[in-house]
């Protein structure tokens, strides 16, 4: 039913409308085998359709973890390198004012810079990630899958904590060389990074999921990381009492103290045990908070 006058269109002009061919031809789509009554009903089951099985917590957590971990291939610079470069920069910068050797200041700088890598990625970047997901509607993808809330929150937090392991190791080794500290206790990173990572990632996830706007999630993440930097890298004994109180409230502090306790010739294992215990408790609480926040954000 369509025709155009001789002369046609001017060059560059859009056609005046879609050609009035039959719709099915226009799409190239197969017209469903609809009858004229409009329905192409399948055989309706007599009762409720059986629910599809939901994945268990661990398989779902594993799938989320694996998927999130794979993002390091695509976004390796922000996820793996930036935090490490920042911490290495701080190590070099403070080397000018802190004497090498196993003094309190040198140990605080090395342990603080190492845990800062964890804070940067697990707290700051994860807060941004969840803030962005929440604002863009990306959480709907998970919320419409039969996946336990804990699997999404914990799987993502675990992946972000894992991103920090190489950077934390590089920072700790570099710092120990630069500040002439014993490296025999650095194996403790295998405990400090996951436990501090759990606490900080849980906190980061909760901030990102609870912040009403993504900019606020970013701001909170940045503030948390700045606090971890200032309160972790400087020796506690030189801080005023109110600041020490704030330092005590930050979960990363206990990771720093546990690590600092093994950067001396005679490691203080009781301090390590206290630090890691607090990290574990804070980590469990933070991850529970993250799970609750996810559930709340996903079903607004």
């Amino acid at each position: 039913m369509s025709a155009a006058p001789a002369g046609g269109r001017r060059p560059g002009e859009r056609p005046s409308g879609p050609p009035a061919r039959p719709p099915a031809q226009r799409t190239g789509a197969p017209r469903p085998a609809a009858d004229t009554s409009g329905a192409a009903p399948g055989a309706a089951p007599p009762g409720p359709v059986a629910l599809a099985p939901a994945p268990g917590l661990w398989p779902a957590l594993g799938a989320v973890y694996r998927a999130q971990l794979s993002r390091a291939r695509v976004a390796r610079i922000p996820l793996l390198f930036v935090a490490t470069f920042q911490s290495l920069g701080i190590l070099v910068l403070l080397r000018g004012v802190v004497d090498p050797g196993p003094g309190e200041a040198a140990r605080a700088v090395v342990a603080g810079s190492t845990v800062l890598v964890v804070a940067f990625v697990a707290l700051n970047l994860l807060a941004q990630h969840f803030g962005r997901l929440r604002a863009s509607g990306g959480l709907d993808h998970y919320a419409t899958l039969p996946v336990p809330a804990a699997a999404v929150a914990l799987g993502t937090a675990a992946a972000y904590a894992s991103f920090t392991l190489p950077g934390a190791a590089v920072t700790a080794v570099t710092g120990s060389v630069l500040y002439e500290l014993p490296m025999g206790g650095l194996w403790l990173l295998a405990a400090v990074v996951p436990l501090a990572g759990a606490a900080l990632a849980g906190l980061g996830a909760a901030l990102g999921l609870l912040a009403p706007r993504p900019e606020l999630a970013t701001l909170c993440g940045q503030l948390g990381m700045s606090a971890a930097l200032l309160l972790g890298v400087l020796p506690a004994s030189r801080m005023p009492a109110p600041v020490q109180l704030v330092r005590d409230l930050l979960p990363s502090t206990y990771g720093v103290e546990a690590l600092a306790a093994v950067l001396r010739p005679d490691p203080q294992w009781d301090a390590v045990a206290v630090g890691l215990t607090v990290c574990t408790v804070a980590g469990a609480a933070a991850l529970a908070l993250a799970t609750w926040s996810y559930r709340r954000a996903a079903t607004r």
């Binding site: 799409t27 197969p30 409009g38 192409a40 089951p45 779902a60 996946v147």
Partner: protein
């Protein structure tokens, strides 16, 4: 028993902080979708489609009303929705940094498939949609249409017998569109899959839907087959005239049409009886009117015309891009 039975669904949002007047997004929506049907929700932005879909998928609790999906009461058990349906939303941010392959496989795993089954389904659906060559690429490195196709692949994994697809073919080329509709039709034929399609693209709606509910202002203003809806506006046809520079108002027949035309720049749109349309075509294809005419199109009414004829208030439906590719 219908696949989906919705009755009296109500949802009102609080207004923005500075203006607390509430927004009634769904105002008593009732509809029934039969098993194996491709059922459309058509309406402009703000008509209440998204709110309705968010309630059906368990993302939002209705203020009042009842939703029964495949025999399950979703108002009482919203967490059952993910075990009954697959949802393709408009956003892909959750999958953006994953490869196509991993995005599909992970979605399958999270829909309850075991690892071998998820891998098998991943390979099958990527092959079905022609995504094999893109399997190793992250979604955020793909074009909009390719990314959308990858999201469709993720939505089709996991054997759900009810699919809720929100603008599934946005940005796709004709080949991809054909692949999507073939895949959906195959599931319908082989497994009796029911599809709820959200669209504001009338061309796509006319082409693929069995029945369509037209939404406006949070209400369903009509629900019928596309042909049935079009029959409601009688036998009118739509005539679009595009003038080269200006309309030849010195031709009396053209000047007389001006008052009846919807005018957008150099385009005039007229809805006329077939006899009158023939007369106008004869007029504008002869003499000075023809010299001034750039292009014209004569078509049967579309669902957009139906929407406006039924009292739809927002001119927000699109014809282009949806189907012609």
């Amino acid at each position: 028993m219908p696949a989906l039975d919705v009755s009296g669904l109500e949802k009102t949002y609080r207004g923005p902080r500075r203006n607390r007047s509430p927004v009634r997004a769904n105002a008593g929506i009732s509809l029934r979708v039969r098993h194996g049907e491709i059922f459309g929700l058509l309406g402009p932005n703000g008509a209440g489609k998204t709110t309705l879909v968010r309630q059906l998928t368990g993302l939002l609790r209705p203020d009042a009303g009842r939703i029964t999906l495949l025999g399950h009461d979703l108002c009482r058990h919203p967490r059952r929705a993910p075990r009954l349906l697959a949802y393709l939303g408009q956003q892909s941010t959750a999958l953006d940094e994953l490869t196509v392959s991993l995005a599909v496989e992970t979605t399958g795993r999270l829909r309850g498939l075991g690892a071998p089954a998820a891998r098998h389904e991943r390979d099958a659906v990527l092959d079905e949609l022609g995504l094999g060559a893109l399997a190793g690429r992250p979604l955020n490195s793909l074009s909009g249409g390719e990314r959308r196709l990858a999201c469709v692949a993720a939505a089709l994994t996991g054997h759900r017998s009810f699919l809720v697809l929100d603008e599934p073919t946005t940005g796709m080329d004709p080949v991809a569109r054909r692949a999507v509709w073939s895949a959906i039709d195959r599931r319908r034929t082989e497994r009796g899959t029911t599809v709820l399609l959200v669209t504001h693209n009338v061309s796509e709606a006319e082409a693929v839907l069995d029945r369509v509910a037209v939404l406006d202002g949070g209400r369903i203003i009509a629900c019928d087959t596309p042909a049935g809806l079009k029959a409601r506006v009688g036998d009118e046809v739509r005539l679009d005239l595009v003038w080269r520079d200006r309309p030849p108002l010195e031709v009396p027949a053209v000047a007389a049409l001006r008052a009846r035309a919807g005018i957008a720049g150099r385009r005039w749109t007229l809805r006329l009886g077939p006899e009158a349309a023939r007369g106008v075509v004869a007029t504008v294809t002869t003499g000075p009117a023809f010299a001034a005419l750039e292009d014209f199109t004569l078509a049967t009414v579309s669902l957009e015309d139906v929407y406006l004829a039924l009292g739809g208030r927002s001119p927000g439906l699109v014809r282009e891009g949806g189907v012609t590719g």
